[in-house]
Point group: C2
Chain length 211, copies 2
């Protein structure tokens, strides 16, 4: 199998490509350095223009190491297909990935409500308008951090192609191709206390339809 | 939205849980430290008993920083559902995640064929028996590295539950629940040079059926 970043021609340098990859996923891996060692944690996120909002609670063990100003790399990957070549060596994956590098910044307490709404609406479109506003207590327990997207601070790789053509004609007779992979939503599962007569909200219907 | 690792009771300490998470995904994020800064890259991988095989080519820019012995953290995340609570604050995600920490090790040239077969069969079950053996040239261009799974060197978190029950009865009347997410394979797409009469191999049929 080919290492998925081997092919350098897959790199994309247009900002629109970065935004499309970031906007297509909901979870990424935040990597930072703690006591000289690599540290990684999965995080829900949303892009807010030129920054990535990462969300936690002030009690989150996952974030206790992450101070404002800490250097970080945030990696998002969407696996779009397995690429089945005529050899193991040429087999690989179709994927979209982005790595954004920069220094984490804190989000002001005054922006916490905005950040929470934006993150929620990114993950469940329209959800923030269906529920009550967050309370001061909730916002105080919310720790939002941001990673700025800087002009030279990111890389995007996209592979979306069939396997390489075999070099020898003898191998042209065997099957080769791509098995596409995608994420789909199943039917919404109501919580145990929710009655059968309660309508599923628009935001949830939209989420199910959109995947 | 709750930061997805906030709830510490989600941590699992049984090795079977780690293996099940690692074996359920095909791509993860390798994080390491380069010149004191965090560095992250998505990589295809497979678990081989007590180690994770990560695969590249010797020309891979992605791996030029990764020396044998380098400290690393490898993070795998499966997003299993969006958890829609009655408040934004309590909304979160169902997921499975694993982080394995340790020092990368090189794989001997003599083990490269084994590693390539195992990785291929992990991603496309049974594929290695359908194609010719890898050539010496291919194996020489293959750089397999491994991350050992050590007893204290990993963490697993699994959330698989409805949203928290509302604290006030007034909120019990609104919908809350989970939108399950899963990855599915589409119909295999043959490469442009593959004739319509060429059978799709068993490994590919198995992959499509298994997802």
């Amino acid at each position: 199998m080919k290492q998925i970043r081997r092919e350098n021609h897959l790199a994309r340098t247009d900002r629109a490509a970065l935004d499309s990859v970031l906007d297509a996923a909901a979870v990424g891996t935040l990597a930072t350095v703690v006591d000289g060692l690599p540290w990684a944690v999965p995080m829900l996120y949303a892009r807010d223009g030129d920054r990535i909002l990462l969300h936690g609670s002030t009690g989150a063990g996952a974030l206790r190491h992450v101070a404002a100003g800490a250097p970080a790399a945030f990696c998002v990957t969407l696996l779009d297909g397995m690429v089945v070549a005529d050899t193991l060596f040429e087999s690989t994956a179709n994927y979209r990935s982005a790595v954004v590098r920069g220094n984490l910044t804190a989000i002001d307490a005054g922006d916490a409500a905005y950040a929470l709404d934006l993150l929620s609406d990114s993950l469940i479109p329209g959800r923030s308008s269906e529920v009550r506003s967050s309370t001061k207590k909730e916002l105080a327990a919310t720790l939002a951090i941001a990673l700025p997207i800087e002009p030279e601070g990111w890389t995007v790789k996209i592979r979306d192609a069939p396997p390489p053509r075999p070099e020898t004609n003898a191998d042209l007779g065997s099957w080769a191709g791509v098995v596409p992979l995608r994420t789909v939503a199943g039917d919404p599962v109501p919580a145990p206390w929710v009655g059968a007569d309660v309508d599923v909200p628009e935001s949830v219907l939209r989420l199910v339809k959109g995947t």
